[in-house]
C-alpha cells in the first residue's frame, strides 16, 4: 500500500498490519478525487439529468391530468345529454297525458249529451203513449155507458113491453 513513492510528507507504513482507512498519507488523493467526481456528478445531475427526468415526469403528469380533464368533460356532456333526453321525454309524456285527458273529457261530454237527447226523446214518446192510452180509456168508458143504457132499454122492453126513456135508463144503470 503506502509505497515510498506514494507521498513525500508522511512516514512509511509497514506492508501488513496497518489500518488503511486511517492512513493519512492517502487523504489528499482521496479528497482530490472525491471533489472531482462529486462535482462532476453534481453538475450533471443539476444541469442535465435532473431537468430531463423532471421534464418527463411533469409531461406525463400533465398528459394524465389533461386526459382526466377531457374524460370528465365528456362525462359532463353525456350527463347533460341524458338530462336533456329525460326532460324531453317527461315533456312528451305529460303532453300525451294532457291530450288523452282532453279527449276523454270531450268524449264524455258528447256521450252525456247523446244520452240526454235519447232520454228526452224517450220521455216524449212515453208522454204521447200515455195520452193515447188516456184518450182510448175515456172513449171506452163513454162507449160502455151508452151500451149499458141501450142494453137496459132493450132488456126492459123485452121483459115488460114498456118503453123507457133513455134518460131513465141511464139513471138506472148509474150513468
Amino acid at each position: 500500500m503506502a509505497e515510498p513513492v506514494h507521498t513525500t510528507a508522511t512516514t512509511e507504513h509497514p506492508q501488513e498490519g496497518g489500518f488503511p482507512p486511517l492512513d493519512t498519507s492517502t487523504f489528499p488523493t482521496q479528497i482530490f478525487w472525491l471533489v472531482v467526481t462529486f462535482a462532476f456528478l453534481f453538475t450533471v445531475v443539476w444541469r442535465v439529468a435532473g431537468p430531463r427526468i423532471n421534464g418527463v415526469i411533469t409531461s406525463r403528469r400533465s398528459a394524465i391530468n389533461s386526459a382526466i380533464a377531457e374524460a370528465s368533460k365528456a362525462r359532463a356532456e353525456a350527463e347533460a345529454a341524458q338530462a336533456g333526453y329525460e326532460t324531453s321525454l317527461a315533456n312528451a309524456r305529460s303532453r300525451a297525458n294532457a291530450l288523452a285527458e282532453e279527449t276523454r273529457q270531450s268524449l264524455n261530454g258528447e256521450i252525456a249529451k247523446a244520452k240526454a237527447d235519447a232520454d228526452a226523446e224517450a220521455a216524449k214518446a212515453m208522454a204521447a203513449a200515455d195520452a193515447r192510452i188516456n184518450a182510448t180509456r175515456e172513449s171506452a168508458k163513454a162507449t160502455v155507458g151508452t151500451a149499458a143504457r141501450d142494453a137496459a132499454i132493450a132488456i126492459v122492453e123485452r121483459l115488460t113491453g114498456d118503453k123507457v126513456s133513455s134518460d131513465e135508463a141511464a139513471k138506472a144503470v148509474g150513468n
Binding site: E3, T7, T8, P20, P21, Q30, L34, F38, V45, S59
Partner: protein, 253 residues
C-alpha cells in the same frame, strides 16, 4: 492467515508516479479514484440517458431513474417541505453517489469507496457546510437560535451546550455511521473468505467444511446489499433533516 481482511481497504496507486502535487501533497491515480470515476461516469450517463423527453411510457432504465428521482424528491418534501426542494440536486447527487459507491463496492474484487473515513467525513463536512451556510443566509445571526431549544429559562445554561455539542458531533456521526457500516460488512466478508481459503487449503475433511463459511458469505452478502441501500438512505435523509433545521430552525415545516 493467508489473507489479511484489511487488505481490501488499502489504497494503491494504479500508476506509480504521482499525477501532480497540490500544496506539497502528491496526487495519485488509485484503485479508489478509479472506482469514484467509474461511479460518477456510470451514474451520470445512466441518469442523463435513461429519461428520454416525451417518452411517457418508461423503459426499465427510465423507471429506475424516475423512481430514484421521486424517492429523493419525496424524501426532501416530507422532511423539509416545499422550500427544501431547491436542495434537490445536492441531496440527489449525495444519495446517488453513496448508493452507487456502496453497490459497486459489493462486486467482489472492487474497491468500496465509502469504506474510507476520509471520503465519508468529507461528504458529511460538505453537508454541514451547506447546512451552516443555508442557516446563516436564511436567518442571519438568528440561526444561532438553533442552539436554544424551547425550554424553561433556568434549563438553558445546561441545554445550550448540549445542543451545541450535538450539532458539532453531527458530521462525525454522519461520517462514522456510513464508514463503519461499510467497513464492518466488508471486513466480515473478508474474514469469512479467509476461512474458506484456509479450510480449502487444509485438505481432507476440512476442505469439505469450507462450504460453511461460503454459505455464510452468501447470507452476509444479502445483508450487506440491504445495508448498502439503507446507509445511503440514512445519509440522505439525515441530510434532509439537518437542512430542515437550517431552513426552519425549531419550527415545523
Amino acid at each position: 492467515m493467508a489473507m489479511n481482511p484489511m487488505e481490501q481497504f488499502a489504497i494503491k496507486p494504479l500508476v506509480e508516479a504521482p499525477l501532480f502535487q497540490i500544496g506539497g501533497h502528491a496526487i495519485h491515480f488509485t484503485n479508489q479514484a478509479a472506482m469514484m470515476v467509474l461511479v460518477a461516469v456510470v451514474a451520470s450517463v445512466f441518469l442523463s440517458l435513461a429519461a428520454k423527453p416525451g417518452r411517457l411510457v418508461p423503459t426499465r432504465g427510465q423507471s429506475l431513474a424516475e423512481v430514484s428521482y421521486e424517492f429523493v424528491a419525496n424524501m426532501i418534501h416530507s422532511t423539509t417541505g416545499p422550500s427544501g426542494l431547491k436542495f434537490f440536486p445536492f441531496v440527489f447527487t449525495l444519495f446517488i453517489f453513496v448508493v452507487c459507491c456502496n453497490f459497486f463496492g459489493m462486486v467482489p474484487g472492487t474497491f468500496t469507496v465509502t469504506s474510507q473515513i476520509a471520503v465519508t467525513f468529507a461528504l458529511s463536512s460538505l453537508v454541514m457546510l451547506v447546512v451552516i451556510v443555508t442557516g446563516f443566509m436564511k436567518h442571519g445571526i438568528g440561526f444561532l437560535k438553533l442552539f436554544v431549544p424551547h425550554a424553561p429559562v433556568y434549563l438553558l445554561p445546561l441545554l445550550i451546550p448540549i445542543e451545541f455539542i450535538s450539532f458539532m458531533t453531527r458530521p462525525i456521526s454522519l461520517a462514522v455511521r456510513l464508514f463503519a457500516n461499510m467497513l464492518a460488512g466488508h471486513t466480515m466478508l473478508g474474514v469469512f473468505a479467509g476461512f474458506v481459503v484456509s479450510l480449502g487449503a487444509a485438505g481432507g475433511v476440512l476442505s469439505l467444511l469450507s462450504i460453511g463459511p461460503m454459505l455464510l458469505i452468501v447470507a452476509i452478502m444479502l445483508l450487506e446489499l440491504l445495508v448498502a441501500f439503507l446507509q445511503a438512505y440514512v445519509f440522505a435523509i439525515l441530510t434532509c433533516i439537518y437542512l430542515n433545521e437550517a431552513l426552519h430552525l425549531h419550527d415545523q415545516h
